[in-house]
Each structure stands twice: as structure tokens, then as C-alpha cells.
């Protein structure tokens, strides 16, 4: 087991949290690797904050549902997950993936799970961005009377 670089771990934990629960389940089908649950999947809320005028003092915008889970694999790797929504299987799978990515199966997990999830997220974003771009206004100035 190696201690992962926090920035890499931040990246994959974020990707696992944003992934659609159904996709995670399809890419990590049961049976899941054996694990001891340290904190059973728990649904709660996180208060989402904004900033006054986008850059000023923080204020409370409202909460969002979040499910968290912690567990340990047989090899001793500990995985954590905090994922949006109320899907306990999503949190459990994300925690298992977090643990796997710190152990001997890291390369395999990256290739089979993270890479497809990252590619799908990129496609989703590109699709939305392309639809938005198609609605971008191209201004043209009409010839005005005084210009003639």
C-alpha cells in the first residue's frame, strides 16, 4: 500500500463523487471486494456556501444531500467517500474504489474505472458546452443613417 499524492486522490475522489451512480455500479459490478465497514453509508447534508457578489464574504446558499462511507479492504487499505445524493451503494463503491486506488490494484482500477468515468464526464461537458456555444450571439451593427 502506498500513500497517494493528495492532489491525485482529490482528483479521483471528485470524479467518483460526480459519476452517475448507475455508471459506477456498471463498471464495478457485484460481488464487491471483501471489506470491513468502518462507517456504514450515512446520508446527511452539507451546507453549500456562496460568496456575496461572487468574491466577498461567504453566505449559506442551502444544503445538499450527501452520503459518506468509510471501509477497509483485506490488504489494509482504507477508503473514504463523500458523494452527492442519497445513494448508499454509490458511496460504498466510491469508498472501495478509493481504497483500491491506494493498493496493488491501483493501475487496473484506474484503467477500468477512472479512465472511462473521466472520458464520459469530458463528453458530457463537451456536449453541453457545444449546445451553449450554438446559442452564442453574433452581433452585427446595422448601417445607421448618419454613416451614409
Amino acid at each position: 500500500m502506498t500513500t497517494p499524492d493528495p492532489s491525485q486522490r482529490q482528483e479521483w475522489m471528485g470524479l467518483l463523487a460526480r459519476a452517475p451512480a448507475g455508471r459506477l455500479a456498471a463498471l464495478m459490478p457485484s460481488p464487491l471486494p471483501p471489506h470491513d465497514v468502518l462507517r456504514a453509508p450515512e446520508v446527511g447534508a452539507v451546507m453549500v456556501r456562496g460568496r456575496t457578489g461572487a468574491t466577498g464574504a461567504p453566505f449559506n446558499l442551502g444544503e445538499m444531500t450527501v452520503t459518506r462511507c468509510s471501509l477497509r479492504l483485506a490488504d489494509g487499505s482504507v477508503g473514504h467517500a463523500w458523494v452527492q445524493g442519497r445513494d448508499k451503494d454509490h458511496a460504498r463503491r466510491a469508498a472501495i474504489a478509493d481504497a483500491l486506488l491506494q493498493g496493488p490494484l491501483a493501475a487496473q482500477t484506474r484503467a477500468n474505472l477512472l479512465d472511462p468515468l473521466a472520458a464520459e464526464e469530458t463528453t458530457r461537458r463537451a456536449t453541453r458546452a457545444a449546445k451553449a456555444a450554438a446559442t452564442k450571439v453574433e452581433f452585427f451593427t446595422l448601417v445607421r443613417g448618419e454613416d451614409q
Binding site: 493528495p6 486522490r9 482529490q10 475522489m13 471528485g14 463523487a17 460526480r18 450515512e42 446520508v43 446527511g44 447534508a45 452539507v46 451546507m47 453549500v48 456556501r49 456562496g50 460568496r51 456575496t52 457578489g53 461572487a54 468574491t55 466577498g56 464574504a57 461567504p58 453566505f59 449559506n60 446558499l61 442551502g62 444544503e63 445538499m64 444531500t65 450527501v66 459518506r68 468509510s70 473514504h80 463523500w82 458523494v83 452527492q84 445524493g85 442519497r86 461537458r125 463537451a126 456536449t127 453541453r128 458546452a129 457545444a130 449546445k131 451553449a132 456555444a133 450554438a134 446559442t135 452564442k136 450571439v137 452581433f139
Partner: protein
Amino acid sequence: MYVAVKGGERAIDNAHGWLAEERRGDPGVAELSVAQIREQLRLAVNRVMAEGSLYDPGLAALAIKQARGDLIEAVFLIRAYRTTLPRLGGSAPIDTAAMAPIRRISATFKDAPGGQVLGPTFDYTHRLLDFKLAAEGGDFPPAAALPSAPAPVPHITEFLNRDGMIEVEPASDATPPDLTREPMDLPTTRPLRLQALTRGDEGFVLSMAYSTQRGYGRTHAFVGELRIGTVAVECDIPELGFAICIGEVEVTECETVNQFKGSKTEPPQFTRGYGLTFGQNERKAIAMSLVDRALRWQELGEDFIGAPAQDEEFVLMHSDNVQATGFLEHIKLPHYVDFQSEMELIRRLRGKALTQKEAAE
């Protein structure tokens, strides 16, 4: 005197049974699924999330179904559910400048860097009923797409900021007050007002904003920028010791630019109003930014002209539709004893008045 009244259980059970039947409507018509509401009534879902103060489209859709489309009732259901959730933490403030907007317009700068992006808007539609939608299985072409390289879309107020033309928002990382945890204390601070406004009733906030436009506390607002899109939510994870992205929320943000003639300490410059709501909710976000600006009169050294939108007690104590509904509708519940005492009082007074009248005649 309080007298407990028992009875009515059977009537209540039967009323709720009938309610369930009425909710379902004609069984010959297919039942609505929660997923259909979530996907096809998304603006209703957004409103319930914003005013329910809980971002969870599936729950908001369920609440709308349960409430038979009564959105304030749905907000009430979400608020009640919210109180059962443990609070796991507070997020870092979302970075709306990092948003990839699906809609972004400015009424102040035509050639804003990043462009004017209309997005999926009702603007420029003719508001004619579309009877094609009444026919089922309507086909429509897929939305046009124009593949493009992602580019940063900076806030428009940033450009005004560079020239000192607009007030600077003092940066801070103070933990904001939370009106869901501490009762609201007047006078409030701007972060508390923004929390109250973003969960406030859309109709109320809209009317308050409209009143400022009509002259009751004029704000001279331009929409400097309106943007809609998803932003990452990051939260410190105690077991890790660092922050991670825990998901994404769609938000609408509105920054208004307002006239300001200057005061004893400040030179003339533009001032800001700010609106931010969950979901695609631009009427609410624009209204919120106007009301935010109107409520800032004291801080900016402006005159209080007695306009309702300037009065924070008036605005903040009446903006919450769950509170308002609770107090309004409680008067329909049994008040038999209260009313009986009023009847007796009126009878006594009438008796006295009649006796005096007879004596005078």
C-alpha cells in the same frame, strides 16, 4: 383556557384516503413517475430545491408529486425532511467564476469576453400556446451543437473593478451566520439577508424587487451579468485533512450594477446587488439581486425613504413561504374556545349598548 377536543379520527383517515385517490386522478390516465417530474418539470423542481433549501432533484420531484403540484406544500415537505438529516459539514464557497455556463448574458456589455450565450431560454419565444405539445410523442430535432474549445468566462464586474468603477466586495473567509440554526436577529448582516432571500418565496421576492423598480426604493439596476451553469462543491473532509469535490450543483447567479452618487467617504461609483439560487431560476436570481441592493441603503449612506424593500424587518420576516403559510393557515384550525369568548364579549357589549339606548329614549 385551553380545552382539548378529541374526535374526528375516522373523518381524518377518510379525508387522507380520498386525498390519495384525488392525487392519483383518473386511473385511466398513466401515473406520473418521479423521474418524469424531475426531468420534464425541472423548473418546478428547481424552485422547490431553492425554497426548500435542499439540493436534491429526486427528492424535490417526489415532494411535487406528493403535494399534487402545490409547490409551497412541496417546499414544506422538503424543509421537514431536511431537518432529519445530520449536518455533515459546510462547503467551501462555490467558485462561480469557474462555472462552464449554459447561459450567460449581460445587459451592460455587448462584447463581454466569453460572449453572450442565450442557453435554453424562454426569452424571444412568442408565448403562443404550442398545441404540438398537446399531441403525445412530439418529435423535435436535437439541439444544435457547435463544438468549441473551453475558455474561461470571467465575471463582467471584474472589468469594471479594474478601473475602480464599481465597489469592491471585501473578501473574507468568516463562517456565515445560519438562520436554520440560530433565530434571526435584527439588524442582520448581508450574508444572513442573502440566505433568507435565496430561500424566500419567489413571488414575494419578485414583488419586492418590482416595487423598487416602480419607485419604492429605486435601485436603478442593470443586469451586469446573469449566468447559469453547474459548479463544483468542495468540502473539507475531516478524516482526510483536505478538501475534495463532493458533487456539482446547478446555480443561477445575477449581478446587478447600480447607480451610486457617492457619499462623504466614497467617490461616485457603481454598486452591486447579488442574487444566487439553486437551479435554473433566473427570475428569482434577478429579483434577489434587486432586493439585496435595496436593503443595502444604510451601508451605502443612502436615505431611508420608507419603502418596503428597504425595510429589512419587513422583507426578511415575511419572505419565507413555509412560515407564512403556517401562520396564515393555522387560523382555519379549531379556535372554538377563543371564538366563544369573543362571542360572549360582543353579547355583553351589545347588551350594555342596547340598555343605554333604551334608557336614553
